[in-house]
Amino acid sequence: MENKRNKYMNPYLAGFLIGLMMIFAYYYAGEGLGGSGAFKKVVISGVDAVNHDYAKNATYFASSVQEGSSSPLNSWLIFEVLGVIVGAIISAAYFGRLTFKIGKSPNITNKTRIIAAIAGGLLWGVGSQLGRGCTSGLIMSGMAVNAFSGYVGLAAVFGGGYLFAYFFRKLWI
């Protein structure tokens, strides 16, 4: 039998499934799906644990770490992302993809790929905070309710991607 690890769900079906989850998210919780929001909460609670006094007085943290408020980890987005992790593992296990690998073009070294991944992560970290969300929280959740911000984000992220694609083609092709 052919190896399942290179099989993927029909993209439209996968999109339909994600769309349904988005509808449930808005119906039950009143908010969209997110990715970077959970990262932010992790960072906030980390900084708070290391230096509570600093976190209490810095604008960016203050609103989430005041005395008496529940931990930033006790939130919808954190549980949602925990679910995402479990879902991804279930699916990867089903398709037999649950192994340690580095995904990259054959023409670059592992080291190059890792450095690029860290750099890309840094850019997303800054971008998602400045833009109030990432692909899921800003663009997809925004588009789901016709928010102007979602379409600005869509144009900028994909526009930016195509703008810079030429310069980084060696990483991928």
Binding site: G34, S63, R132
Partner: protein
Amino acid sequence: MKGLDKFIILIVLVGGIWLVLSSGKPNLHQITPEKMLSCINKQERCVSTDEVAKFIMGKDPSVILVDVRTEEEYKKFSLPGSINIPFDSVLNENFSSYVNQDIYKIIFYSNGNTLADKTWLVCRGLDYKNIYVMTGGLNEWVKTILRPVKPSDTESSDAFAMYEFRKGASKYFGGGGSDGTSSSVGAPAPSAPKGNKKKKAGGGCE
């Protein structure tokens, strides 16, 4: 394209067409007021207290604020520049000439939402144009503009920007700034409007 591709795309397209067809305007004369309220897109009907504050501060000539409470209540406290048309006299010919036009933006307000909503419904039923309701009424006005509360939830940036605006507006209307000091105008503290408590969801992917 494969069969499944076409099938899903077809579902989405049919959904899109259904959506366009279903968003037609309901027939206003045949349904109950409650249904009418819920059917009509809130954005078409509601103006926030912040927007009203902006109109007043900017002395916007295209806006008429209409107090639909009784005359006594109007005399005790009202928004600057507003006129008084009590609910029961909205259909009065003297007053309907104010309301039935399409030059000015008419914003109704009462203590809560109820009376202003009723007025709006009556006028909408008569096919009057450019009519709105100030969300939450004077209760909301006192809470948000005269005595704004410093935000403490996680969606800080928005909330803080709005808070800054409200602090300024509060000074303008003599509401005594940010904290809970009693306001200098004899603002009424009418009973809170009925209805379910609506907590704004916060968070998202920020």
